[in-house]
């Protein structure tokens, strides 16, 4: 029992450290990709002393800069909620990752270590639950700032998030029809056949449509362009975090990037075989590598979309979510279940 607890504590802390580092470097990646798409160089100065290291120290410098920024709490703000809101959006974002498997099992110091923190019978519902709780941080940030832009941004953002949460949930239901379980570990294990290439998306071609719906909905859920209406800077200044500065602003940014990483990981797990890949049966250390590569590819795709597609208008956004994605995912469920009914 104590051993198990110790293992969990270590795994949790390691995962959190990896996630925080990953967030820092995804921001750098975003700036590099943006620069690359716009034919610029991007951050390339910050290094160690004389060595520039392609700007690899940029996130560290950014972090230090943000710590030393002035922490402003507006006079008319609702003090308690104003401080609570960024925490409420960061904590659920950090909590999702414990159900995602990132490898099979490896042996370390004569211990067999499963490469996931925990598995639960309702794993995917746990993820959905945390996604739906994430709305509070944004709503309360908008409300407590006592600023018109914040309030409008918070309301718009939460309405957008709940609208696309529906499409997200319903597209996951189509996947569940094929997997027959909510346990993410089982979902990944089932995709291990055919030299580790029996990924759901190859195995069940109908899931390509589902993946497109899922991906669009998760972009909207994480407030990325073309769905970044909540912080549409030309209309709403900075949306719900207009009044936030210093580390509280960092917390919102961290939550946003964490959500992007989580969404990509879930997409990898559900559609692209998780950590499965060629030779992973013989070399279990390849599991986390495959997983990271797939997640990074999906994150890159999100960035590519961000710098290619212009922003939606709010009425277009709501119309797209409710009148296209929602009926499309319902139709998908009907088609998938009919297919399963006649599967032998």
């Amino acid at each position: 029992m104590t051993n198990l607890l110790l293992e969990w504590v270590i795994k949790t802390i390691v995962i959190l450290l990896i996630l925080v580092t990953a967030v820092a470097y995804v921001t750098l990646m975003e700036r590099k990709v943006m620069a690359w798409i716009q034919m610029r160089v991007g951050p390339n100065r910050v290094g160690l002393g004389k060595f520039r290291l392609w700007g690899l120290m940029q996130p560290l410098a950014d972090g230090l800069k943000m710590i030393f920024k002035e922490d402003i709490i507006p006079l008319q703000a609702n003090q308690w909620l104003y401080v609570l809101a960024p925490a409420l959006s960061l904590i659920p974002a950090l909590m999702t990752f414990i159900v995602i498997p990132y490898g099979s099992q490896i042996t370390l110091f004569n211990h067999t270590i499963e490469l996931h923190v925990t598995r639960m019978n309702v794993g995917l519902l746990y993820v959905l639950a945390l996604t739906s709780v994430g709305v509070y941080g944004i709503v309360l940030a908008g409300w407590s700032s006592n600023n018109k832009y914040s309030l409008m941004g918070g309301l718009r953002s939460s309405a957008q998030m709940i609208s696309y949460e529906l499409a997200l949930g319903l597209s996951i239901v189509s996947v569940l029809l094929y997997t027959g379980t909510l346990d993410l570990v089982e979902i990944v294990d089932a995709q291990g056949g055919f030299h580790g290439l029996a990924w759901n998306i190859f195995h069940y071609p109908l899931l390509i449509l589902v993946f497109i719906i899922f991906y669009i909905a998760s972009l909207a859920e994480t407030n990325r362009t073309p769905f970044d209406l909540p912080e549409a800077d030309s209309e709403l200044v900075a949306g719900y975090h207009t009044e936030y500065s210093s580390m509280k602003f960092v917390m919102f940014q961290m939550a946003e990037y964490l959500n992007l990483i989580t969404a990509s990981s879930i997409a990898t797990t559900l559609f692209f075989g998780g950590w499965n890949g060629p030779f992973v049966g013989r070399l279990p250390y390849l599991g986390p590598v495959y997983f990271t590569v797939k997640v990074l590819a999906l994150i890159f795709m999100a960035m590519w979309i961000r710098y290619t597609v212009p922003r939606f208008r709010y009425d277009q956004l709501m119309r797209f979510g409710w009148k296209f994605l929602l009926p499309a995912s319902i139709v998908n469920i009907i088609i998938s279940s009919t297919a399963i009914l006649f599967m032998r």
Binding site: M120, N121, V122, Y126, L128, V135, Y136, V139, S158
Partner: protein
């Protein structure tokens, strides 16, 4: 298993404290946030009796949807703070205390026979155990089919009714 008792007490205290906070707060927004605290700790308590699926649904439906609706309404209407209650009969307050004591004594009396009943051991095949998604799904769509189908009509009625009530003509 003292750990389970400690967990129960922790979550029970959180649930009761936030439930009391609903009454103590004057602003409806804070009351709603305290209710979310109660809902989350109840969800943890559901886990201690192996109701995993219901625990997750509790967060998805209650904390993630119903309370969002409440908070939206509070924010949209900009609801004023609660006024203090005007007591019409002053003496009743003191009558309340012996009655409360009576009720608590009665509760202890009723609960006495089951004070030692503990949770049955779960069967070895954990997938088929009560509270998993599989057990909920098979029972809901066979034995409890009628309530399930009636629910869909109920939801439709609520949708139409609420739309008609909340929209103004020409809105």
């Amino acid at each position: 298993m003292w750990q389970e008792k400690v967990l129960f007490i922790v979550f029970a205290v959180i649930a009761i404290a936030s439930a009391l906070n609903i009454l103590l707060q004057r602003s409806p927004l804070y009351s709603a946030l305290s209710l979310i605290g109660t809902l989350l700790s109840l969800s943890a308590l559901y886990l201690t009796v192996h109701a995993q699926f219901i625990a997750a649904v509790q967060i998805v439906v209650y904390a993630g949807a119903i309370m969002v609706l409440f908070i939206f309404v509070i924010m949209l209407l900009n609801v004023p703070k609660d006024q203090p209650q005007i007591e019409k009969q002053k003496g009743l307050r003191y009558l309340a205390i012996p009655f409360a004591g009576l009720m608590i004594a009665e509760m202890f009396y009723v609960l006495r026979p089951i004070r030692l009943t503990t949770l049955p051991i779960q069967p070895g095949n954990a997938e088929q155990a009560v509270g998993t998604t599989w057990s909920i799904g098979t029972a809901l769509f066979t034995d409890y089919l009628l309530p399930f189908e009636v629910t869909s009509v109920l939801i439709l009625m609520a949708l139409v009714g609420a739309m008609v009530l909340a929209r103004r003509e020409g809105d």
